[in-house]
Amino acid sequence: MKPQGAVSLEVRRLAYAYPDGTQALFGVDLSIARGERVALLGPNGAGKTTLVMHLNGILTPGHGSVEVAGLPVRADTLREIRRRVGLVFQDPDDQLFMPTVREDVAFGPANMGVRGAELERRVADALERVGMAGVADRPPHHLSFGQRRRVAVATVLAMEPEILVLDEPSSNLDPASRRELAQILKNLDVTVLMVTHDLPYALELCERSLILSGGVIVADGPTDKLLGDGDLLAAHRLELPYGFAPPAHPR
């Protein structure tokens, strides 16, 4: 599926082997258009996290290239790449490392040189967008898990990224927090790449899905169509929850 219009993320023939020789990616190709919400599905060990680490240059490709809105990921573009790609990690306690929520949300833009009133505005704005404006002066460890995940999203929004990359956004959330986060993500007007094996969540939030398995993209298409294909899912160790049936898709 080739996206139309401006491209937010372009990955070409990306291959990577860890220093110990384990090959994790075998030539990944994918392209995400601006404004799209795309789910990256795959079983544990498929290379999802390895792929994500390439998107903001924490890992350097062994082969192939990554481009964010036309800018290639290279040592000399890292600063701008990290502003453009907002990575939300799975454990909010890893993401929220400053003593207060306000300082944490300010960390990214302050590193980009934003100061004073503009910094204040960015922080207030980002917290507002995730519905957490009231907790700016609290220490992160006094928030509930769901609140911390939302603040983690705000820390990245404050950098005004081109693309938001979420690693397992629904993990460890209770059903209410899960729904609230979905609502927030739906209302953001940014490009989203969501790494998950929570298939119903992908169906709810993303029109399009990619399946990464064995280090390559094995499927790319509308989420409801992919989730309706039982054989495809079974072949890549993906399963719908018991009793869950995706809405019928005209074939």
Binding site: I58, V85, P99, F107, N111
Partner: protein, 254 residues
């Protein structure tokens, strides 16, 4: 996570002392301690003046005396050491209630006791009126080595997370029937401590990745301007200034 809303040493308030910029208070406390140490030990009255100065600070900051006294318990190990000196000291001796004590030892004990106590009380007052986070910002403003300040900042943030993890590991041990009774259980506890260390280390790596992802380049960005006007410095200088004047007077009278 069970810790209260504020750090345990901090006493929330909105007094002139609470409002002083942290870097001023830090320097004032250090300056006071230096002035106290520089006071001759024979000048009893000078130490009485220093006590009055601290009492004045406590009154303005509305820190109750009972709270200060309770926290002075931290000093006990040093006190025990000081108490031993008159017994083991050499030289001229005096009889006090039938016990022979060394005069030089008594002076040394008094010297340690009074100066340490005044220093401890000054830092108790500092901790009670300054949030730990502000303390670190103050340290940063005073150009303390940035790496040390960062390490302390992370300790402040992750202390509760690590304590919580240790608590979960203890519950997991006890759920499987483990009770630490004697030395033979030490290897199990040591392995738990090791596992906790590895987990914390791995968290450190993940936090570092998260920092890199948000543009960290080795320096913490300046988020708080935290200005200290000359007036605040003048207010903060009052305590060490008066203590220093007292010490100087004591020397000139000696």
């Amino acid at each position: 996570m069970s810790a209260g809303h504020h750090h345990t040493l901090y006493l929330p308030g909105d007094t002139p002392i609470h409002r002083l910029p942290p870097q001023c208070k830090l320097l004032a406390a250090v300056g006071f301690a230096v002035a106290v140490v520089a006071t001759p030990r024979e000048a009893w009255w000078a130490f009485a003046v220093d006590v009055l100065l601290l009492a004045g600070v406590a009154a303005v900051a509305r820190v109750p005396a009972a709270l200060v006294l309770r926290r002075m318990v931290i000093e006990v190990p040093f006190v025990l050491f000081a108490v031993a000196i008159p017994f083991i000291g050499l030289g001229e001796r005096v009889e006090v209630a039938g016990v022979s004590l060394s005069v030089a030892g008594l002076w040394a004990a008094w010297n340690i006791l009074v100066k340490a106590t005044l220093g401890v009380v000054a830092s108790i007052l500092l901790a009670a009126t300054t949030e730990p986070r502000m303390m670190l910002l103050g340290a940063e403003r005073l150009r303390l080595p940035s790496l040390l300040v960062q390490i302390a900042t992370f300790m402040l943030r992750y202390m509760d997370v690590i304590i919580d993890q240790a608590r979960r590991m203890r519950i997991a041990r006890e759920s499987r029937g483990f009770v630490a009774r004697d030395i033979r259980h030490a290897p199990t506890l040591a392995r738990s401590a090791g596992a906790l260390f590895i987990r914390s280390y791995e968290r450190g790596e993940r936090v570092h990745l998260a920092m890199l992802s948000r543009g960290y380049t080795g320096q913490m960005p300046v988020i708080h301007e935290l200005p200290a006007p000359r007036r605040d410095w003048a207010v903060a200088a009052a305590l060490p200034g008066l203590a220093l004047a007292t010490a100087a007077l004591a020397w000139s009278l000696a």
